[in-house]
């Protein structure tokens, strides 16, 4: 079975470790990659694409050394290969202006503020995964554990 990939980007290992704990329940059905920089995440996404795997969700911090999160998300948004990838900005330090740019130019799907609540983050991640599975035509029935029911019903209702 194909495993959708979640990519988490944050320059702080402790934050990644926290994400690792919060997303532990998804590892059965998803692959989760952790990256310490936007550059590393970009490389991973390229490699995944080359090997035919599907990046489903990108969880990204904003304030990072070298390339910041919003710039990276804009890049991904403009890449024809990654049009279906859902984008979540997870940050506590984005300014008002950064946020506007993130929405307008990077077309982020969700914004979660640090510090986050594990439950809320998990719910958001599931919603985004569900959306991804449906838009990419993957068989959602094999991923019921990681799916958000409400989103699923809502999306399925729109189908014929």
């Amino acid at each position: 079975m194909e495993k959708p990939v979640i990519i988490c980007v944050d320059d702080q290992r402790e934050v990644l470790a926290a994400l690792r704990k919060d997303l532990a329940g998804l590892t059965e059905k998803c692959e989760i990659e952790y990256c310490e920089s936007a550059e590393e995440a970009g490389e991973i996404m390229n490699a995944l694409d080359d090997s035919g795997e599907t990046t489903a969700l990108l969880i990204c911090d904003h304030v990072m050394p070298r390339k910041n999160g919003v710039d990276f998300l804009i890049e991904i948004n403009n890449d024809a290969r990654f049009t279906r990838v859902r984008k979540l900005l997870l940050t506590g330090q984005a300014t008002h202006q950064d946020t506007i740019v993130a929405i307008n130019e990077a077309a982020i799907d969700r914004y979660v503020e640090k510090p986050w609540q594990a439950e809320e983050l998990l719910k958001t991640v599931k919603i985004l995964l569900t959306e991804f599975l449906l838009v990419s035509g993957m068989d959602y029935q094999s991923y019921l554990e990681i799916i958000d029911q409400e989103t699923l019903y809502e999306q399925l209702r729109k189908r014929t």
């Binding site: 194909e2 694409d49 080359d50 090997s51 035919g52 795997e53 290969r81 449906l134 838009v135 990419s136 035509g137 993957m138």
Partner: protein, 473 residues
């Protein structure tokens, strides 16, 4: 104030109703039955709707099928059924047959083409091929133009002309932006791509919908295999493409010395991508060799559909992006043609006009010219839908035409002609896209489009002559 649309709609409907309600004897066609009268009305409605477009053209197709089912099928509305009192009622058509046009082999052939196009795009085979194929053309703008046109033509033989043009124009956009404002070469590039797509569509039976419609009439001893079609159509495409290239260079010589297309990417190598490459290769090969392995093009077309769905290469979501409207447009055409043929209407119309009095050459000339003019102002497929049933009947009834190649020749000539209309933005979707770039002046498109149309049509005549000489017809 009545909108133009409403006016077109009412005129069409009133005319149709008129034909429907007047006594059969009023219509100057000998031996016309009630059923034929109704089909004539439907044909009139289709013609007016496809020309005036008060509703989308594919909707007209669906309407044709529905009207046929309601008015002339064996399961028609009871008021339309024959209670035995009408003498010249004519032969009704089985509703299953009408409905089957939605899934006729021709439609499935096209579906196979769509599946291949979706898979190729999804795994970036199209763009990677374009990148590799363009390389030998170097950086001389003239050669790059040739390369772009050749690739566009090749792709449009297997993908829709619209999708091919969209892809190539997207590749072109950055270099067009880099060219000087005054560089006339820009025009050559922007026109070269849609023209190549229009011309390339002629190359295979699945290249463009009119070809598919033509297949409906090329049955029995007139049947043409996939490889057979390409055998004569591809050389025609090559020659016309070469002419177009030279014409564009003459009209719009590029000024810049070098021009480099920067297409990045690499061939994907995972199993799904490899499956796509192999399946497409095998499918095309089987199409070309249809004379040897017993499977015709329709059967072969199902192979990629099965492989791509089974492997999850084309998902349910991808299937939603298939241009169902194009398939339905063709279905409607097939249903219309079938009804005209089955009922005998086509024959009756032909019989009522003294075609035999005209020279066969004149008939071929007039039919192709009418086709190209119609296709210039309306959909190529709709043109083929309207022209081909009549032309097919004409070919059969007109003995004099045999010398020139009979109905097979006439059908092919008309089919080719329907793809040669490209002088206006509304002629074809690729033309519309080129116009939308804002870099094309209408008069230049008109001028070059007309020249290509005239030369292309002459080419068609020569091709038909050659084919006759080699005993193809």
């Amino acid at each position: 104030m009545i909108s133009k649309k409403t006016m077109h709609l009412s005129i069409s409907v009133v005319a149709t109703l008129l034909v429907l309600v007047i006594p059969v004897s009023w219509i100057p066609i000998d031996g016309l039955t009630i059923i034929e009268q109704r089909i004539l009305a439907i044909f009139l409605l289709a013609t007016m709707f496809w020309i005036l477009e008060p509703i989308p053209i594919f909707a007209t197709s669906v309407l044709i099928i529905t009207l046929e089912l309601v008015m002339v099928s064996d399961k028609a509305f009871f008021l339309f059924q024959n209670d035995g009192s009408v003498a010249n009622f004519g032969s009704i058509i089985a509703h299953k047959e009408i409905m089957a046009t939605f899934a006729s082999p021709i439609i499935l052939l096209f579906l196979g083409g769509f599946f291949m196009a979706i898979a190729a795009t999804k795994y970036r085979l199209d763009i990677n091929l374009a990148r590799v194929l363009l390389r030998p053309f170097g950086s001389d703008p003239r050669k790059v133009l040739l390369g772009l046109m050749v690739i566009t033509a090749v792709f449009s033989m297997f993908m829709s002309n619209t999708a091919t043009t969209a892809m190539m124009l997207a590749l072109l956009a950055p270099i067009l932006a880099s060219l000087e404002k005054s560089d006339t070469g820009k025009m050559a590039f922007v026109l070269g791509v849609p023209f190549a797509a229009n011309i390339g569509g002629i190359g295979t039976p699945i290249g463009t919908p009119p070809n598919a419609v033509a297949l409906k009439y090329l049955t029995g001893e007139n049947a043409i295999g996939f490889g057979n079609w390409m055998g004569f159509a591809v050389p025609f495409v090559i020659i016309l493409l070469g002419f177009t290239w030279i014409l564009l260079l003459r009209l719009f010589p590029p000024q810049s010395a070098t021009l480099a297309l920067d297409i990045r990417g690499k061939f994907l190598k995972h199993w799904k991508a490899l499956t796509v490459y192999v399946t497409m290769g095998i499918t095309i090969l089987l199409w070309l060799l249809d004379a040897f392995h017993g499977m015709n093009a329709y059967v072969v077309a199902m192979i990629p559909v099965a492989v791509f769905t089974a492997t999850g290469i084309v998902t349910t979501e991808d299937m939603k992006r298939i241009s169902w409207d194009v398939l339905w447009l063709v279905s409607g055409g097939i249903a219309l043609g079938m009804a005209m043929e089955k009922s005998g209407l086509a024959m009756h119309i032909i019989d009522s006009i003294p075609f035999a009095a005209f020279s066969p050459l004149l008939i071929v000339g007039v039919a192709t010219v009418i086709t190209i003019v119609m296709a210039t102002f309306m959909s190529n497929t709709a043109t083929a839908n309207l022209m081909l049933p009549i032309v097919a009947a004409l070919g059969i009834s007109l003995g004099g035409l045999e010398i020139l190649g009979g109905s097979k020749m006439l059908i092919l000539a008309v089919t080719f002609a329907s793809s040669l209309a490209m002088s206006l933005a509304i002629s074809t979707p690729p033309n519309a896209m080129a116009q939308a770039t804002g870099l094309v002046e209408t008069r230049y498109m008109r001028k070059s489009g007309i020249i290509i149309g005239v030369v292309g049509l002459s080419g068609v005549y020569i091709l038909m002559f050659v084919l006759r000489q080699v005993g193809f017809f």
